[in-house]
């Protein structure tokens, strides 16, 4: 038993580091660090995506046949960790992590040819049509209706919490194609062109003033039958495949640990009477406790990777890591607000907070980012399956309760 990387992994790590040092522009690092919302804006994310695509490293979650890198789970981990340490922008999960693998797995050759490469080039931006105003945690109760009309469906309904719908060219959408069977069996997975009449987008502004999510109204919107993924009624199976990718499949600990390092660095220069905050015993204990939790998460994630690397199915820990990572994220962001004392109370609603036009902070730039980051971070225990739902899954499937 050991926790070491192989020689090949260490060589790969060096290759990733060299690439990041050479190819990741400072502007993008600043953009990532200056983003208080959960997702980076396309001006930052797409540029990084193009750089990675040119290197052939973009679709590392995809099968090789679809353009994937063929990396081992450990290599994927190393790549994500080095990206986190280098302040690389987070990649848009919607196309790359969510619908891309779905199309690669369930799509027809024609669908793969039409959609996959445009996700990689950034020509198509995607949004997710899952939740509805009446269907949050209880997703299977969704009411958006798709009625077959020759070679197309006519779709009516409303989707909510639709991240970046205001940028999206396409929506992958769960819609009810058969209202007469049990709820899960009547759902289909449709790809809907967002640039058509009948699609209305209402922005939903978050507590910090960020516009990330929307409500999308679909009024007699057209979805071609050739843009249905899988069979009619197979939507729930595909949705679960996708949700597993959303909830797991990526390691959270590297970025959390990197943020804890940043917080320690900030506390070391934050004035506290005659000294600095890092010397405050209460603060340093709270920071240390969060680090312990993050280190445990890192090792739990590595245990999952080791299972995958040996060709075994990952256990139910994927549900556990979302639970741990989301509350850890919130505790780190809360402690970061407190790190800045009264400066942590400032809240600017102008965006972006990076670049030459960004408003001057009170105190330092990280102090300006702390409050909006904390407020947006309350979403982590809600989206992608709330913590209450995650706990129910663990109780039912793991504990047999």
């Amino acid at each position: 038993m050991d926790m070491d990387f192989s020689a090949a992994d260490i060589a790969f790590q060096a290759e990733v580091r060299a690439f990041l040092a050479a190819e990741l522009p400072q502007r993008l690092r600043d953009g990532m660090n200056g983003t208080p919302s959960v997702f980076v804006e396309p001006d930052i994310g797409l540029e990084w995506q193009r750089i990675l695509h040119a290197k052939g490293w973009l679709a590392y979650h995809w099968p090789v046949a679809a353009g994937g890198t063929g990396w081992t789970p450990v290599q994927r981990y190393i790549f994500e960790k080095e990206c986190a340490l280098a302040d690389a922008p987070s990649l848009s999960v919607l196309g790359l992590r969510l619908v891309g693998p779905v199309i690669a797995h369930y799509g027809t050759p024609d669908q793969k040819a039409r959609f996959l490469s445009r996700i990689l080039t950034g020509e198509d931006l995607w949004c997710q049509g899952y939740s509805e105003p009446g269907s949050g945690s209880d997703l299977a109760s969704l009411k958006t209706r798709a009625v077959r009309d020759g070679d197309r469906y006519i779709v009516n309904g409303s989707k909510i919490w639709t991240t970046h719908a205001h940028y999206a060219d396409w929506m992958f959408c769960l819609a009810r194609t058969d209202p007469d069977v049990k709820p899960q069996a009547g759902i289909s997975f449709l790809l809907i062109n967002m640039r058509q009449p009948g699609v209305t987008i209402r922005p939903i502004i978050g507590m910090a003033g960020d516009h990330e999510v929307n409500q999308v109204f679909l009024d007699d919107v057209e979805a071609l039958v050739e843009n249905r993924i899988g069979e009619e009624g197979q939507g729930w199976t595909i949705a679960k495949f996708l949700l597993e990718n959303e909830r797991g499949g990526s390691c959270a600990a590297p970025r959390l640990l990197a943020d804890l390092d940043r917080l320690a660095g900030l506390a070391a220069v934050q004035p506290d009477g005659a000294g600095v905050l890092a010397d405050d015993r209460d603060f340093s204990r709270r920071l240390a406790r969060l680090r312990l939790e993050a280190e445990a998460l890192e090792t739990t994630e590595l245990r999952i990777l080791a299972e995958l690397a040996q060709g075994r199915a990952p256990g139910p820990q994927t549900s556990l890591t979302k639970l741990v990572a989301s509350s850890l994220r919130q505790h780190i962001d809360e402690l970061t607000v407190e790190c800045f004392g009264l400066d942590g109370l400032q809240l600017v609603t102008e965006r972006p907070l990076y670049g030459n036009e960004s408003p001057e902070p009170i105190g330092c730039k990280p102090a300006q980012l702390a409050m909006p980051t904390y407020l947006n971070s309350r979403a982590w225990t809600i989206f992608g399956g709330s913590n209450e739902v995650q706990k129910n899954i663990i109780a039912k499937t793991v504990l047999g309760l």
Binding site: D138, M207, L342, L345
Partner: protein
């Protein structure tokens, strides 16, 4: 023993609740947003109405032109203000400066400024916090140098609450003997560099730099350390009461939501995990109310300690209840559309000002 409000206190409570119902009652979030869009960061018309009801002089003695309210009156009023999500800074621009000026209203100018405050004509705020002080209320690096019959003040003040639209600042600084004093400074005086900015709760604070600002020596308020400690204790009590009102409002809203919102074919509130989280919030609110009452009713000699303890307890409890309210509302909870987020943001500010939970806990422990 009797925890019910007395007759006058009940009348006061009714008056404040009437103000809240008439102004914020129908649409609290929209009203708050519109009020905060005003030049000073709160509603001028609301402020005028608070002046008419006499509430701007709540903590000012009758001889100073106020209502002469004590701790219970402050607690009753501020709880209703919190419950209503009121944006008008009764704590920051009435209670605190009112008490500081009242102590010292012998000088003609100070009494004129106090009259203006009570009448709603002038906005007066305390400029005390400094960046290096963090939450230590005794830490003042600002200096006041005597210069004939004047003083010249050098100080860097941060998080001056409601400072963005203030007419007068009460600035703390150390005098030649190193004693902390408080000087009344016109916000427009030469050498006052003011940078307004928004806090999480939407209020308009300011960072204020004073570079040799000259005011008459007579602008020093007759406020010593003991008096300042008493004002801070009252500020803490008021912040606690406002947080209790906000917590109660969050709880009521959330309880209503989990009773009506249905998922999996039943109300959210029928799930045990939701019931337990709501029960935990209920317990915290009852415990918080007990701490508020302890502080409001403590003997004078023990008031400062009780207020510190209440601040430490209620700050943490209020944040926990607010986080629960956000989580129970799901996606809706993280939007700017519900009062839930606005209450969380106001609680965040109240929890940190006049000493965060940690420093208030230190004060409480030290005074034991």
């Amino acid at each position: 023993m009797n925890f019910d409000p007395g007759e006058d206190q009940a009348l006061l409570k009714t008056a404040v609740e009437r103000f809240v119902a008439d102004t914020y009652g129908a649409a609290p979030v929209e009203t708050r947003r519109m009020a905060q869009a005003g030049a000073a960061g709160f509603g001028a018309a609301h402020w005028a109405r608070l002046a008419e009801t006499g509430l701007l002089g709540l903590a000012v003695s009758a001889s100073g032109g106020g209502l002469g309210g004590g701790r219970v009156e402050v607690a009753v009023t501020m709880e209703a203000i919190g419950h209503g999500l009121v944006a008008e800074p009764l704590l920051e621009a009435a209670i605190i400066p009112g008490m500081l000026l009242d102590a010292a209203s012998h000088a003609a100018q100070q009494s004129t400024v106090l009259e203006g405050l009570v009448a709603g004509a002038s906005i007066v705020v305390l400029a005390h916090a400094e960046r290096a002080a963090r939450f230590d209320l005794d830490h003042v690096d600002g200096a006041a140098e005597a210069s004939g019959t004047d003083v010249a003040i050098h100080a860097g003040k941060t998080a001056v609450l409601v400072g963005g639209g203030a007419d007068w600042l009460i600035v703390s600084a150390r005098d030649a003997s190193g004693v902390t004093g408080f000087w009344l400074v016109p916000a427009a005086a030469p050498g006052v560099d003011r940078r307004p900015y928004r806090l999480a709760d939407g209020s308009l604070a300011a960072e204020v730099t004073l570079r040799g600002v000259v005011v008459p020596a007579g602008n020093r308020l007759a406020v010593d350390t003991a008096h300042f400690t008493a004002v801070i204790a009252m500020a803490r009590l008021a912040a606690c009461a406002e947080m209790l009102g906000l917590m109660t409002r969050l709880f009521e809203t959330t309880l209503d939501y989990v009773k009506t919102r249905r998922q999996f074919g039943q109300p959210l509130g029928s799930f045990q995990v939701i019931q337990h989280r709501m029960t935990d919030a209920y317990v915290l609110i009852e415990q918080a109310r007990s701490h508020l009452l302890r502080a409001a009713l403590a003997p004078d000699a023990r008031f400062a300690r009780a207020a510190a303890g209440a601040k430490a307890f209620i700050a943490d409890a209020a944040i926990t209840v607010a986080h629960t309210a956000v989580q129970m509302h799901g996606g809706m909870g993280i939007t700017d559309e519900l009062l839930v987020g606005h209450a969380l943001k106001r609680i965040r500010v109240l929890a940190l000002v006049f000493g965060d939970a940690g420093s208030a806990l230190d004060d409480y422990a030290r005074a034991a």
